[in-house]
């Protein structure tokens, strides 16, 4: 059975299945997008494979972290622009 782990997305606790990526967790939390573009547009992922950089969020205090290929870890702190 896949285990459940707990992360926070923009301060709110979220239980996710282990093996879920941070991006999937963000989008499952109800957010439509992940980052604000240079001109302030909300953006979601484009490529979902680490190339477009639209999925960047602040993970465990580190800004500009790509989230599409990063697995959730217990206690991870995720902050987005959106």
């Amino acid at each position: 059975m896949p285990e459940e782990i707990s992360v926070t997305v923009n301060g709110a606790h979220l239980n996710v299945t282990s093996g879920m990526t941070v991006l999937a967790a963000i989008l499952s939390s109800g957010a439509h997008g992940v980052r604000k573009s240079v001109k302030g547009e909300l953006r979601g992922p484009l490529c979902a494979m680490g190339i477009c950089f639209e999925c960047r969020a602040t993970v465990d205090r580190r800004p500009h972290t790509r989230t599409c290929q990063l697995l959730c870890a217990p206690g991870m702190e995720i902050r987005t622009d959106g």
Binding site: V38, R62, P63, H64
Partner: protein, 375 residues
């Protein structure tokens, strides 16, 4: 083949050539600009865009101070994408000896009308919280500024064109003729005066002039707004720029309007290849981390190199070429081309038109005698 006749033909549309073109055209001279690749594509594109008053020598001070004032005067007219930002420079001292040098530097500047303020260790921390804690202090020069140079070069070319200047691009000059240049398609362009503003490539047309390539590396980060507020330079930068023979690195970080950080600097001799040299890059970044440990975790998104055109006495060549009365030079600006582009234009135009300039052209004349041997 006939070709347009210009009063002034400027070879090279980097920021120096572009600034010269704009001023010549504003003075109602018929201007031609010939550029091999793109406007602002050489050292103009590779460099930092720091508008700084330097005290390395009296002549360097005069030219940079004069130029900085011209930039400040021009700044309201600059388009937004030139990103003129009067963020100031902080020269950083790591020990008491360097703090002594800071005091002397302040004295030098203030006695010549340049505002400068000594920051002790605490004040430095407050001004730049991300610097490492145990620095001794620094000198804040609040009126220094930062621009995005490729857009400034384009702006100057557009200004020149709006006064009737003709831009010949992309056109490669293969040789100088008696009254102009020959292009690689076989045609010639003629002018009453030709100005070589080719940066590190000026020696291709004038092999005898004392300009050598000095390679530099830069790295730009992702956006971290507010991480750095001023252009930060270590006092040791001057030792790096001074050295005539050794490869060197120095701490030099610039905040961009975008929130990105531009990190330099390095100087290498006898490095003709433009490829990024991993060992110099790592030395440069390690040095930067020594001053600003938090840089370690910031995301570097690109690195690149450029070639500064260096002269033996670190002063540019502005004036008539040796042995020719219709050929002028405006080149050899090393790391100060962006700053002194405006002062260079004034010096050039005053010499072309035979009139006084705000500063004396003597120290920058190409036919001056150099002290010391060119490395």
């Amino acid at each position: 083949m006939t070709s347009p006749v210009h009063d002034v033909l400027i070879v090279g549309a980097g920021i120096v050539g572009a600034a010269c073109a704009a001023l010549c055209a504003a003075e109602k001279l018929r201007v031609g600009i010939v550029e091999a690749e793109m406007v602002g594509g050489g050292a103009t594109a590779a460099g930092m865009g720091h508008l700084v008053v330097m005290d390395d020598s009296e002549a360097q001070f005069v030219l940079t101070h004069y130029s900085r004032a011209l930039w400040e005067e021009l700044s309201p007219a600059l388009p937004a994408d030139v990103e003129y930002d009067r963020c100031g420079t902080i020269w950083i001292a790591t020990d008491d000896e360097e703090m002594h040098a800071v005091a002397q530097k302040k004295q030098f500047y203030e006695s010549r009308g340049v505002r400068a303020k000594i920051l002790d260790s605490g004040a430095l921390r407050e001004a730049e919280p991300n610097l490492r804690e145990d620095l001794s202090g620094g000198l804040l020069v609040p009126d220094d500024a930062v621009i995005y140079a490729p857009c400034a070069a384009r702006f100057f070319v557009e200004r020149a064109q709006s006064c009737g200047a003709q831009l010949h691009i992309p056109c490669v000059v293969t040789a100088l003729t008696r009254d102009g240049v020959r292009l690689n398609n076989g045609t010639t362009l003629s002018a009453r005066f030709t100005v070589i503003a080719g940066g590190a490539w000026s020696t291709a047309l004038l092999p005898g002039i004392a300009v050598k390539k000095r390679k530099g590396h830069l790295v730009i980060t992702d956006r971290y707004p507010g991480y750095v507020r001023h252009q930060l330079v270590e006092l040791g930068y001057l030792k790096s720029a001074h050295s005539l023979t050794e490869d060197s690195v120095a701490f030099n970080v610039q905040p961009r309007r975008t929130g990105q950080l531009l990190i330099g600097s390095s100087r290498q001799y006898d490095a003709e290849e433009s490829a990024v040299d991993h060992s110099i890059l790592s030395r440069m970044l390690a040095r930067a981390q020594e001053f600003m440990p938090g840089l370690a975790k910031l995301s570097a998104i690109r690195s690149w190199t450029g070639f500064r055109p260096a002269t033996p006495d670190k002063l540019p060549l502005i004036g008539p070429a040796p042995d020719r009365d219709n050929l002028f030079l405006a080149t050899g600006h090393e790391g100060l081309g962006i700053t002194t582009s405006l002062g260079t234009a004034q010096l050039l135009v005053s010499q072309l038109l035979g009139r006084e300039c705000g500063i004396s052209p003597a120290p920058y004349l190409p036919n001056r005698a150099y002290e010391g041997v060119h490395a």
